[in-house]
């Protein structure tokens, strides 16, 4: 698509703004749905600050609003966020201090430099998202990669939390998730997130089987469990495989892993 490949700062800012706008609409919907569904205002606010992962937040709140246990909500959100691990490996070079800053602080030998570097690394890890990783991986120059990652990560953190706060206020006035078709937005978001990942038949088979399991079990199982039972759909793609291709997970693999997400980012969206 090439939108993010341009390296001048204004193009980056515009692309980041578009992503923030798209995610902002989802954030408003998330905050409004959570509060209109009966959760206290601080639940979506705290989740957005501390979890900061839209898909997992929506999944967890969706499970709870359906009457599921908090444990099922945590498991569902946690499984969705396992992808953060390969993301972190892929952008490890831009999370935290630059090598320039490292050598500077080493020269200075200062304790403040060490604290600053670690603060950057700890906050940088928190803003690893589909979007910030996609922006970073589209750049080859290390300095531009770093700028793209941090611009997107920090902007999205601010935009997401502001949008959720707006949604919380709106939801408190609505008090009914069915108003304005708000109840259709959660499943729509999750469908839109999953569609770009359904390119292979093995994944489609597993997802279709899992969805059928979950829907079929909903009338009989306590809420929250049917969705976890859907993971049984993974059995359809289980093959005893020879141990090939076991190698270090590097940035090249990560690029491939993320390519669909990066392309779908500005069009289809990722959270």
């Amino acid at each position: 698509m090439g939108i993010v490949q341009r390296t001048d700062g204004s193009a980056l800012l515009r692309d980041v703004a578009l992503v923030c706008l798209a995610d902002g609409i989802v954030g408003v919907s998330f905050g409004a749905t959570a509060v209109a569904g009966g959760l206290p205002w601080w639940v979506p606010v705290a989740m957005s600050l501390l979890v900061f992962a839209g898909g997992a937040q929506i999944a967890a709140v969706g499970v709870v609003l359906a009457g599921g246990s908090p444990l099922a909500a945590v498991v569902a959100g946690g499984v969705l966020n396992t992808r953060m691990f390969p993301y972190g490996l892929a952008v490890a070079d831009v999370v935290g201090p630059s090598t320039q800053a490292e050598s500077n602080s080493a020269e200075a030998g200062g304790r403040t430099g060490w604290v600053r570097d670690w603060s950057a690394r700890l906050f940088g890890a928190h803003v690893i998202t589909d979007e910030s990783v996609a922006f970073a991986l589209r750049q080859t120059d290390p300095a531009v990669r770093r700028k793209a990652f941090w611009t997107c990560g920090a902007s999205l953190f601010a935009a997401w939390n502001a949008a959720v706060a707006v949604g919380v206020v709106a939801g408190a006035m609505i008090k009914n998730t069915n108003a304005f078709g708000l109840d259709a937005t959660f499943p729509a978001v999750m469908l839109a997130l999953a569609l770009p990942t359904l390119s292979e038949w093995r994944t489609r088979t597993a997802a279709g089987t899992g969805a059928a399991i979950a829907v079929a079990l909903t009338p009989v199982l306590p809420a929250g469990l049917p969705v976890l039972a859907a993971l049984g759909g993974l059995a359809t793609i289980w093959r005893p495989r020879r141990r090939d291709g076991v190698g270090r997970f590097d940035a090249d693999n990560a690029g491939g892993f993320d390519a669909d997400g990066a392309d779908g980012l500005l069009m289809g969206g990722e959270l």
Binding site: G77, L89, P187, A188, A211, A230, F249
Partner: protein, 102 residues
Amino acid sequence: MPLVAILALAGVTYGFRLAGPLCRDRISIPPAATRVFADAATVLLIALAATSALTAGHGFAGWARPAGVLVAGILAARRAPFPVVVIAAAAVTTLLRLAGVH
């Protein structure tokens, strides 16, 4: 949703996030494992989409909601912008309800 559940999800998520930058030079994960993670996430998202579109409580959610989600899915598959997808889901569902379809 109790605070402890939010903290647990936040802790798990941050752990996954921080592990990459900390372990980059010390760890290798097989590509096959990466694919299983990705497939598991997809299976969960589709299952969540299906159950939250079709069911309310232990029963059927009615026609308006799944119809809105279906339209959103078609738009998403055609790579419509994300705001359009979300707003279409809400708009179609609302219009159907106003028309008496529940």
